[in-house]
């Protein structure tokens, strides 16, 4: 029982990372109907920015804040410069552009920062808590994620710009008629997604160690979490991400050798999706003839 609870908690910590990335994916999907394959490499790049700052003796939380701002601006710039030209192109062209962006960011990071593993500091000491049920680090990751989700909720629910962004995502044409600058809202959405990714990257870097391929595995889990929750539902993305984290951990502990845990976890989730093809919290797409 102790082992079981331990696995659940460490699964939740991993799941918090997947949930953040899933949320970033959902934000972009809702706004532009596009799965951003470069999301995780954007997060990786942000983490390198934080790493440079920390190495330059900037205090941890200051480096954290600066990284979020830089990532936000970087995300907006990517939307304006890289994604904009294929805004009205076929979906596959946009998908290929995000794959290209993934390759560019990954190669650039390798070129600038080399492929060696780098240690990344954690503000949370790695101490056991509650009779070794979880560590302070896991608790810290979960707490930071929760704070971030709370802030996002407040932003979308109670601010004018949050409302404008929701309007732009839901119905761009009507939003534009109401005087909302839809293009700018899309850019802000990309900026926010990049900042969310940066948070997740900084949280996961002390555990995985930093290298250009750090987030490669995370992309699939985040994507799975987003779809399990329903690609149109932010709440679903968070819950989906947590479920994926816990499932992955439990499968690895109880079911099968860890080489196949990814495969088995994916099969389980696909089976769930066969019965709920729009995810747990997603809405079915209704089409007219």
């Amino acid at each position: 029982m102790h082992l079981f609870l331990q696995q659940i908690f460490s699964g939740l910590a991993a799941g918090a990372i997947y949930a953040s990335m899933a949320l970033a994916l959902v934000m972009i999907y809702r706004a532009t109907d596009l799965v951003n394959f470069a999301q995780c490499d954007m997060a990786m790049f942000s983490t390198y920015i934080a790493w440079m700052l920390v190495n330059a003796d900037v205090p941890y939380w200051a480096a954290f804040a600066i990284t979020l701002v830089v990532s936000f601006i970087g995300g907006m710039l990517i939307e304006r410069i890289v994604i904009r030209p294929v805004e009205n192109a076929p979906v596959l062209a946009a998908v290929v552009v995000t794959i290209g962006l993934l390759l560019i960011l990954n190669a650039l990071a390798g070129w600038l920062f080399t492929y060696t593993l780098q240690e990344f500091p954690s503000p949370f000491p790695d101490r056991p808590l509650f009779g070794a049920l979880m560590t302070t680090r896991d608790l810290g990751i979960i707490a930071v994620t929760l704070v971030m989700l709370g802030l996002l909720f407040v932003f979308f629910r109670f601010t004018t710009i949050g409302l404008a962004m929701r309007a732009a995502a839901q119905n761009p044409a009507s939003a534009r008629l109401c005087g909302i600058k839809v293009g700018r809202m899309l850019a802000i959405g990309w900026g926010l997604a990049a900042a969310i990714g940066a948070t997740a990257g900084i949280m996961v870097a002390p555990i995985l160690f930093l290298d250009p391929n750090m987030m490669g595995g995370v992309l699939l889990y985040a994507f799975t979490g987003a779809l399990l929750g329903g690609i149109t539902s932010p709440v679903g993305a968070v819950i989906g991400g947590l479920i994926v984290g816990v499932t992955e951990n439990l499968v690895g502990t109880y079911l099968i050798a860890s080489q196949l845990k990814l495969t088995v976890a994916l099969i389980l989730i696909i089976v769930v999706l066969v019965f709920r093809p729009n995810g747990l919290f997603g809405t079915a797409i209704v089409r007219r003839v």
Binding site: V86, L103, A107, T263, L266, L273, V274, G279, R287
Partner: protein
């Protein structure tokens, strides 16, 4: 040539077209010239370049399979690397374990590809858009892990294969023989794909892609045709995989990573997803652009590759053939119109 045939030929020459020839005729001539060029090419190139071109054709077959599914039926797949691997391993295991001659593994790989595709296509019926992308992506990621896990796939080390030799008595070497072997398979694949796509099946696939509800209302069995599209698509890709195992002489789990699946998708998008000719251009892109990027920048070749993808998509969001195709269609329509006009003219003169 008898007189009437000659008369028809001259009449055809006389009406419309570019330089007195119809666009259709030009197209046929172009295709014939390409085939002649493809047949002549290996004699003027080094062995390594012949090998590279052989790989281009193999990728072209794989991308053609993906085009059938994504371009003509609207189902996205990020997992065709998995079916490519299935074909490659089917061929490798048959050759290595059961001593089957290499050419005989192709039908087996085709069968494996079709069966897996249909099995996979059945649950895929429930998924659309990003959900199908996830399910196929999951397959692409799981492929190398699964191949490593089992011992009959050779595990981590993979399987080394005996070299496929040209039939005794033929005065060409191995690389050129395999080039022609793959060329013949490519031509058959293109012919089969063109026949399916221009016929009833192709029309049904495209109707489903464009509007599945309307297609169902017209009496198209949507589920059956979508599953068939999946099976046909994976059949092509698995055959390409088998060819790659024969040509490279080696299969290992790491060759079939997610990156391979994404490469197919990129090749498909660059060439033009709903085209046949685009598949060949896609093959060239997959094989040569990474090398080319390596020549430009040793430090970050993949950044150059990514940049090339971006630029291609900005310049031609519908792919090369997808963007040139409308131009050809316009030319053809124009020459038809002028042909029809001249027909009317000649009729009126003969009536006098």
């Amino acid at each position: 040539m008898n007189d009437s045939a000659a008369a028809i030929a001259t009449e055809k020459l006389a009406i419309g077209g570019i330089a007195g020839l119809r666009v259709d005729t030009w197209r046929r001539l172009g295709i014939a010239a390409l085939i002649v060029l493809a047949a002549a090419l290996p004699f003027g190139l080094s062995n390594y370049h012949v090998f590279e071109l052989t790989l281009v054709m193999i990728y072209a077959i794989a991308v053609l399979g993906l085009n059938i599914l994504t371009g003509y039926n609207g189902q996205i797949s990020l997992g065709h690397g998995g079916f490519f691997a299935a074909g490659a391993y089917a061929a490798a295991i048959l050759m290595h374990r059961y001593g089957v001659p290499y050419w005989a593994t192709l039908p087996a790989a085709a069968f494996v590809g079709f069966a897996l595709g249909v099995l996979f296509g059945l649950p895929a019926l429930r998924f659309e858009g990003p959900y199908l992308a996830l399910v196929t992506l999951a397959m692409a990621v799981a492929t190398p892990q699964t191949l490593k896990y089992f011992s009959w796939t050779g595990g981590q080390q993979g399987i080394h294969l005996a070299k496929a030799m040209p039939p005794p008595g033929l005065p060409i070497d191995r690389d050129r023989w395999l080039y022609f072997f793959v060329l013949v398979v490519l031509l058959i694949a293109i012919r089969v794909a063109a026949n399916m796509l221009n016929g009833r099946t192709g029309r049904a696939w495209m109707a489903i892609r464009d509007h599945s509800i309307a297609a169902a209302a017209m009496g198209i069995h949507t589920a059956r045709y979508k599953t068939l599209a999946f099976g046909t698509s994976t059949l092509f890709t698995a055959v390409a995989g088998a060819l790659s195992a024969i040509v490279v002489g080696f299969v290992a789990p790491e060759s079939f990573s997610l990156f391979l699946s994404l490469s197919f998708l990129v090749g498909s998008a660059v060439g033009g997803i709903a085209t046949i000719g685009g598949a060949i251009l896609g093959g060239f892109f997959i094989e040569f652009v990474p090398n080319f990027a390596n020549d430009i920048s040793d430090a970050a070749p993949w950044a150059i590759y990514g940049l090339a993808m971006l630029l291609f998509m900005y310049a031609m969001p519908r792919g090369v053939v997808g963007s040139v195709g409308p131009l050809v269609a316009w030319l053809r329509a124009r020459t038809r119109r002028s042909a029809a006009g001249e027909q009317v003219l000649s009729n009126s003169t003969s009536a006098k």
